[in-house]
């Protein structure tokens, strides 16, 4: 009888242990999802800001047609991207193009003094920071979640209930690799 009770107690303990691991995994996965939602909000915000920016800038920057076309192109690419990897790729191209615009602004003192542009610039900077902080938070969450999935003993529970590893959101520095095209005609 006493052995049976001990046996039962051990079984209950093991079940409780597994339940707690399962719950921890669920919590981590939800945190990853929530962190991703934060990035998504900010990416959308940036997409919304761009038409406004182009509208304000276009009257001043008559010689930077190429940059503005790139921005528009990458924006629509980014809006159509589906997976985390695709999004990261498209967004980094967009960041690169916006960076180029920012460099060119230096040549237009009138534009730099325009209050509407300054307000937009602050919004854009803030949105870009928010993206990078949201990304930082997302990647931390993904790392914790993936660690949990790979490590013993939680990997057993993760395998049983089909928890899959999540992808990091990595922005490569495309802007530096892409040599700007120069044409002389």
């Amino acid at each position: 009888m006493i052995y049976f009770i001990i046996f039962l107690a051990v079984i209950v303990l093991i079940i409780l242990f597994f339940v707690s691991i399962y719950n921890a995994l669920i919590r981590l996965r939800n945190q990853v999802k929530n962190a991703w939602a934060q990035i998504d909000v900010q990416l959308k915000r940036r997409h919304d800001l761009i038409p406004n920016l182009i509208e304000t800038v276009k009257g001043y920057m008559t010689h930077e047609r190429q940059i503005m076309e790139n921005i528009t192109k990458y924006r629509s690419q980014a809006m159509n991207a589906q997976t985390v990897g695709e999004k990261a790729q498209a967004e980094s191209l967009l960041s690169g193009a916006l960076g180029q615009l920012r460099v060119q602004v230096e040549n237009y003192p009138d534009l730099k003094a325009n209050q509407n542009f300054l307000a937009l610039q602050e919004e854009l900077t803030a949105t870009e920071n928010k993206i990078s902080f949201a990304r930082q938070n997302y990647n931390d969450q993904v790392l914790m979640y993936n660690n949990k999935i790979q490590m013993f003993p939680s990997n057993i529970v993760a395998g049983m209930f089909n928890f899959k590893e999540e992808e990091f959101f990595e922005i490569k520095d495309v802007a530096e690799k892409e040599v700007p095209k120069v044409s002389f005609n």
């Binding site: 900010q42 920012r102 602050e122 900077t125 920071n129 902080f133 938070n137 931390d140 969450q141």
Partner: protein, 405 residues
Amino acid sequence: MWELIQSNRRKSLILFFGMGALLIFIGYVFGSFYDPEAGGAIGVLFAIILWVILSTVSYFAGSKIILAVSGAKEVTKDVHPQLYNVVEEMKIAAGVPYFPKIYIIDDPSPNAFATGVKPENSAIAVTSGLLATLNRYELQGVVAHEMSHIINRDILLMTFAGVMLGVITIMSDVFFRGMYFGGGSRYRSRSSSKSSGQGQVIIMILAMLLAVLGPILAQLFYFAISRKREYLADASAARLTRYPEGLANALEKIANSSHKLRSANKVTAPMYIVNPLKREGMKLADLTSTHPPISERIKILRSLQQGVSYKDYQKVFEMIHGKKEKIIPDSALKESIPVAPVSGLANEGIDFNPVEAKREANDAVMKLNDYKFINCKCGVKIKIPPEYNNQIVVCPRCGTKHQLS
């Protein structure tokens, strides 16, 4: 982060109940000093009532009172977009669901504080001087520091510690006043009591000791907690922004400012990011200071080269301090993810324009004072004082007519 919150909650609880027990004890001793028979009970009752009143008031109205005393005004995003954005950035970096209210204090001295015992109704207040002197990174560092106080539940802990300090100080004050005015009654009650003797002598000595040392010890205790919280908030801020240099530069600028904060006093001083009452050349300050020496905080932040995790901060702290002292709770040191400082920041290309920053800060103060702002299409910003009672404003550059609503 979660571990830190838990550890602080536990500390708040211990402080709350430990403080209760201590106050009851002091109340009993003080009461017995005056009347060995009934005095103890009266003293205990007095202590409990005082404690309950102060705790309740500071828990429910403390943050409102403090904001009102400092002359802080709540602002919306359009008053100072950058400040609002930076707060939102830190909220996102921390991944927390609540958004603190934002206040601006019209004061040329750069400083900031956070308040609110619950994170859901917390607030961050900064002076207009802070907005005028700091660039975006630096402001981010300061806001991250304040946000960390909120996230780590420091404010609750400091509120309870402050109440303890207040009650002990008031009680010893009442005790001494009682001795001064009513010394005679003590004699009468003592001569009529039969149980006087050795016990009463011990009570008398104990009461005198508590009355003299109590407030001093409570104050030292309060300051010690406060100092630790500052280090911890610095560590959390470095971790949130991944850019300790920002906060380090901000602290340097704040320390070098010659302005003195008008609205700060002894009670609110520990709340600010840098002690606003700090005088030059205070060297004995180590024990009696609410804040760690700024130079040391800056040095630690600047030495965080390898990483900005809690573990790194603790390591650098011990290196610079030269002695082992736990600044970060053990639970937070166990954190497993590597936290590297950033190299390429999104807003690296933006340089700081002091004139622009000053103008932004001035504009924020004008908006607080009910000035209306209109951004004209031609890029001119029109500022309309509240006294202006015409319905139409004409842009001085392009002549566009703007309708005032």
